[in-house]
């Protein structure tokens, strides 16, 4: 029997598997370009999970910013840096035990939070009323953060030019 709930579960597990495999490839592959491509795969899995969770806006933002902009930036940085493109970098150094410990600790904490929290259920909504509300909030309630971000980007732009110019 294929109920929509069952299909949702199937989609969730498939997308989770994609995200996890991508993340695993990103940290284990020795070639940096391939590792970056693994990261893109992981981002796509996460974007899919957002769709399943009915967070369409976040999903689209994930695709545009993470897959579209940040991944391309990473690939550009790798390709423009001499020697990074072809040489196989070691994926481990002497600190991997400590890093693994901290990583597992963080995972344990978040896992504990995830299973003990009584998560509130979101109200059903359609994407057509979500986007106008987001837009309206950005220029009313969140006007100041919106403007502060633009100032932040200006500062980053100036900083990048100061650092990069000859």
């Amino acid at each position: 029997m294929l109920t929509s709930q069952f299909l949702t579960y199937v989609a969730f597990f498939v997308l989770s598997a994609i995200a996890l495999i991508g993340a695993f490839l990103a940290v284990t592959l020795r070639n940096l370009v391939r590792a970056a491509l693994g990261l893109i795969l992981s981002f796509m899995g996460v974007a899919g999970i957002y769709f399943v969770l009915e967070a369409e806006f976040v999903a689209i933002v994930q695709v545009i910013i993470y897959i579209g902009a940040i991944s391309v930036l990473i690939l550009f940085a790798i390709m423009l840096t001499r020697g990074l493109m072809t040489s196989a970098a070691s994926t481990q150094n002497s600190q991997w035990i400590g890093a693994a410990f901290v990583g597992m600790l963080m995972f344990a904490v978040l896992f504990f939070v995830a299973i003990t929290t009584n998560w509130p259920l979101a109200q059903p909504h359609t994407i057509s009323d979500l986007i106008p509300r987001l837009g309206a909030d950005l220029v009313t309630t969140y006007l100041l953060p919106f403007e502060a971000v633009s100032l932040l980007l200006l500062a980053a732009l100036i900083g990048a030019i100061v650092i990069a110019r000859e």
């Binding site: 904490v109 978040l110 504990f112 939070v113 003990t116 929290t117 009584n118 509130p120 106008p132 309206a136 220029v139 009313t140 309630t141 969140y142 006007l143 100041l144 953060p145 502060a148 971000v149 100032l151 932040l152 200006l154 500062a155 980053a156 100036i158 900083g159 030019i161 100061v162 650092i163």
Partner: protein
């Protein structure tokens, strides 16, 4: 769809706005300023800061909130705004001759510094976690660049990279904390978080979120064990940038730290006060003990700034009105004192060649008696000797701790101050009791550095001898 009117109240963000406009004017002015007149951009920046300070002062007592509860112009935020503007103005006075001597006098230096100041003011007056985060980023990003501003010097570049990587790391912690607190309370507004927590019990998610927020703040104000970046960054960055960030970042970040924890999270005070007390002990002790071992003045002052963050944290643990005002006074006193100390170090440098080893100061008192006296006064104030500002600050903070039943914390603070006397007096002993080293002759102290030093030392003495007006201002600086 109805027409929505945003809650705009430009008056309460006037100080940040004026600083931003000044930054943009300086940025455009850079284009038309010939190379030998770059110092005018510095004067223009100082003028902007003075105007911003007047704007902040005119708002005193207004207690107005705006932009849908995102920012507030309360006396607490305004006191910090004034402190930040003062530290920036003094830093620029020190910077004008410094960046000229080091051949990095570009207008962007002032633009980035002013952008950072705007971020600090936003952070100190923000009442919403999102705005606090944006203020944090806006203050940090320009500082990463400023730390690496001496691009010819690999140590400066290293400082910039290190600061950037660890800063990005800590921002991630902070952001994760905001997300979890939002998940637990359904809001990022500090007042609404407090209201929500007053009704419902905490949850593990909330506790983890608050913990991550604390880690984020601890990175920024350099509390042990999140302080590893501090000595390297303070050592490698241009000395004027070190001077600026050692004081102004603390004022802004501690402002948001107090506002978030004391006013949004009093419901969880039992937990975070204990954690903060442990952090304060670790920070004071490690900062002072590590400072004992340093032979480089910048590194010594870096560890000293870590120790001072520990003292200020005691005021947060006290969680009282007196704790709050003592922290405000301490931040002001620390600002003028530390800038005075850095100013004296800059004054003793020989053009682009800086004297940063403590043994280099040998005999400075004979060649530059006034600068040596200024450095001595500032170091004594940092150590907490009366009748200087540092003594009054420590007295107020320890008093607030004793009042609220944290006497043991105050005792540890006093013991730490005693330890600190040893390393603060080492440069003094070198200056007054050693034979002069080579190469002192012909060093002229730049007039602007002398002016900054004079302002700092007068403030240190004034705040120490007549602390009452500043204490009254700080006591009026309660969060509404």
């Amino acid at each position: 769809m109805p027409i929505l009117v945003p809650d705009i109240n430009l008056r309460i963000i006037a100080p940040a706005l004026i600083v931003t406009v000044t930054a943009i004017v300086v940025l455009l002015g850079e284009l038309v300023t010939p190379a030998e007149r770059k110092r005018w951009l510095g004067y223009l920046s100082i003028a902007g800061l003075v105007v911003a300070a007047f704007a902040a002062f005119s708002l005193w007592g207004a207690n107005a909130s705006g932009f849908s509860g995102m920012v507030v112009a309360d006396n607490f935020g305004l006191f910090l705004t004034l402190t930040i503007a003062l530290s920036a103005a003094l830093s620029i006075l020190l910077s004008i001759p410094f960046i000229h001597a080091h051949e990095i006098d570009q207008g962007e230096y002032y633009v980035l510094l002013l952008a950072s100041v705007a971020g600090m003011i936003v952070m100190a007056t923000a009442t919403d976690l999102i705005v606090i985060f944006l203020g944090l980023e806006l203050l940090s990003l320009p500082l990463y660049i400023l730390a690496a501003f001496q691009r010819e010097d690999t140590r400066s570049l290293e400082a910039g990279i290190k600061y950037f990587l660890l800063g990005a790391f800590s921002s991630a912690f902070f952001l994760y904390g905001i997300a979890l607190v939002f998940g637990a309370t359904g809001t990022t507004n500090l007042a609404k978080i407090a209201a929500s927590l007053a009704q419902s019990a905490g949850s593990p998610m909330l506790s983890i979120g608050v913990g991550l927020l604390m880690v984020g703040f601890a990175f920024k104000v350099a509390l042990v064990p999140f302080h590893w970046w501090t000595p390297d960054v303070y050592d490698g960055a241009p000395t004027t940038v070190t001077a600026f960030m050692s004081v102004a970042v603390k004022a802004a970040a501690f402002g948001a730290f107090f506002r978030t924890f004391q006013f949004a999270l009093p419901a969880l005070a039992l937990d975070w006060r204990a954690v903060a007390a442990v952090l304060a002990v670790l920070t004071m002790t490690l900062g002072n003990v590590a400072a004992l071992l340093q032979s480089n003045v910048k590194r010594m002052l870096a560890y000293s700034s870590i120790a001072h963050a520990g003292y200020i944290l005691i005021a947060l643990v006290a969680m009282s009105a007196n704790g709050l005002s003592s922290a405000l006074f301490y931040l002001l006193a620390y600002t003028v004192t530390n800038l005075g100390a850095f100013g004296a170090v800059i004054a003793l440098s020989d053009g682009a060649r800086e004297r940063l080893e403590i043994k280099d100061f040998a005999g400075a008192a004979r060649e530059h008696p006034l600068v040596a006296l200024a450095l001595t006064i500032c170091l004594l104030s940092l150590a907490g000797f009366p009748p200087f500002a540092g003594f009054v600050g420590k007295f107020l903070i320890f008093g607030a701790a004793v009042e609220t039943g944290w006497a043991w914390l105050a005792v540890i603070g006093v013991l730490n101050s005693l330890v600190s006397v040893y390393f603060y007096l080492r440069p003094v002993v070198q200056m007054y009791m050693s034979e002069p080293a080579e190469g002192w002759s012909g060093i002229r102290v730049a007039p602007l550095v002398a002016l900054a030093l004079l302002i700092a030392v007068i403030s240190v003495i004034a705040l120490g001898v007549f602390p009452a007006p500043a204490i009254a201002l700080a006591a009026g600086g309660l969060i509404r």
